[in-house]
Symmetry: C2
Subunit: 343 residues, 2 copies
């Protein structure tokens, strides 16, 4: 009936006609208002308001040869630490008028390749690759496109990297536990293929015998699902060892929460019977009792990643930054009082 087909958007030309000026004047009113006379500016602005004129960004992009965008390649949005980081990156991008493309690769190479093509086709300024080894598919990027990796390889001459000091974090946790009298410290690794996880596990393995002179036990390192539910498996595995640990370092906060929950569920007192630590330090109000964990400086990490891509002072050279972490002593670690055995 009265179905009016969606009218086209107005363009500078229409606005110009309505305001009785030329298109270039409309453009000038928008972009350089100080170079226009008061009455022309006022007239044009009134028309713009009245007709809700919104300049076409696609035309601007074409002209400027840039979509002013950054891409974040991320495997999994549901990892809480990365979600927080992404949020922070979004804020930086917003503040500096960049468009942030979220490329959720889901560990799928084809999808990654497709996203990459898209990024190239819109002349993205750069790619922030989160916990994802840039592989050969990144080989033919245009020279103007920067690449920076979080928690990935740190030795490339082709792209920059930012890495939390996982080694320092594990060391802080171990010092803390050793100071509390612990000698039997196990490490619950996560089996999801995250590189950050591998770095933490390596750190544990290097530190245990070498720095802290603790007995090295093969059975004190094992892989588990990266989830809260893994807590059961972790407790059952470690606490049924012939010589169970008095403390368990978990690869991340989720696993630590799981361990904490299951420990309490079966009647273990934390920290009296067992000390538990996490890694990530998402925010203060994450668990009860408060987890002893390592805080990653996500604001600094986001800033470095962002600048490595867009700040010309940084983006021109390849950097490999390591970001300090800090220990957050909570209520899940305490003196190693006694040895606890499960039946």
């Amino acid at each position: 009936m009265d179905q009016q087909k969606p009218k086209d958007y107005l363009g500078v030309r229409e606005i110009a006609k309505l305001a009785h000026v030329s298109p270039s004047t409309v453009s000038r009113v928008i972009n350089y208002p100080e170079r226009t006379s008061d009455d022309v500016r006022e007239r044009v602005n009134r028309i713009i308001e009245e007709y809700h004129y919104v300049p076409n960004q696609m035309a601007k992009n074409l002209f400027s040869k840039s979509s002013n965008s950054l891409a974040v390649f991320i495997n999994n949005l549901t990892n809480p630490f990365y979600a927080l980081l992404l949020q922070e990156l979004g804020q930086l991008a917003f503040q500096e008028q960049y468009n942030l493309l979220i490329c959720n690769t889901q560990h799928n190479r084809n999808q990654e390749q497709d996203y990459l093509s898209y990024c190239q086709s819109v002349r993205t300024k750069g790619i922030i690759s989160i916990d994802n080894h840039p592989t050969n598919i990144y080989g033919n990027l245009h020279s103007s496109m920067k690449l920076v990796s979080l928690d990935g390889k740190v030795d490339s001459v082709h792209y920059s990297s930012v890495t939390s000091n996982h080694y320092q974090g594990i060391n802080m946790l171990m010092n803390h536990l050793v100071d509390l009298g612990h000698r039997k410290i196990a490490y619950a690794a996560d089996n999801s293929n995250l590189h950050a996880g591998k770095l933490r596990r390596q750190a544990y393995q290097q530190l245990v015998g070498w720095h802290h002179n603790l007995p090295y036990r093969v059975d004190y390192v094992a892989d588990f699902e990266c989830s809260i539910r893994a807590g059961k498996d972790i407790i059952e595995y470690y606490m049924h060892l012939p010589d169970p640990p008095t403390a368990i370092l978990c690869a991340n906060d989720s696993m630590a929460i799981g361990v904490l929950m299951y420990a309490q569920h079966i009647g273990l007192k934390v920290p009296e019977d067992l000390s538990i630590t996490g890694f990530d330090g998402l925010n203060e109000d994450f668990s009860y009792p408060r987890l002893t964990t390592v805080m990653q400086d996500y604001k600094k990490i986001a800033r470095l990643l962002f600048d490595d891509v867009v700040d010309p002072k940084r983006a021109d050279h390849v950097h490999h930054e390591v970001v300090d972490v800090s220990l957050l002593v909570g209520e899940t670690t305490g003196p190693a009082k006694k040895q606890v055995y499960l039946p």
Copy 2:
């Protein structure tokens, strides 16, 4: 020294010249290869490969008058349910070749307005507004731009909505608890201003006296922080009431996990001493012991939101969909055996 300034990207014209054909032929090889002769197609493709030519999407966008994009307005990426939903929307967008703009508004009206302008300037197909009442700033959207709200108002004639059946979910939980013999069922509401939370609270209030004929108690509904740590406050509040509940409905899974953790921490047995339920049903492996909760059908929700914006069959009319939820009986609910009092 040998600092070569970043060369420009190649265009159709350069490729055309290198392949000794015209620009239109290059375009045709890419978009309608069947309308080209074998040798021309082969020649052009070889050059494209060799020089890593990537067509400029910005020019395509300008020509097609569309950036083929959708926007998601979301308050907070760290809410795990919304993160999951966002991931699902990302997959749909990817599959159907849409570009998903993530507009993380952080409850900031100015930021929301800025994002909105951007969306208009790229002629976004539509906006998916997550738990966020579209306000008057959405008043002047171009008629071709769709708007759909998740868990927002459901009575607008201007935009569509999708809502989980929160009422049904709360009802299922209450039926389950009443069947187990519970009569004293409290509700821990969340004080973050989420509309989904308000709907759940309303449902509880309507159901308690009316449908289940339970004693109505003002002190059985209270607001708490939407976090795991709130568990302590929730337990301390409810379990110190003169007549404590035997079951606590929590507004979402995070709060329920917190209640579970704190209950176990102070020695309450779950579910023997206290039954606990959540809401969201993020995924199976979220807690130990497994939480009794309500699963929202995030895949269906994502599909509806997506189609309301892009599928012409749906997008042409305003829809208000309510999506069924399902009860997930876990291990945190059990018979109401005895009354527990805290000292």
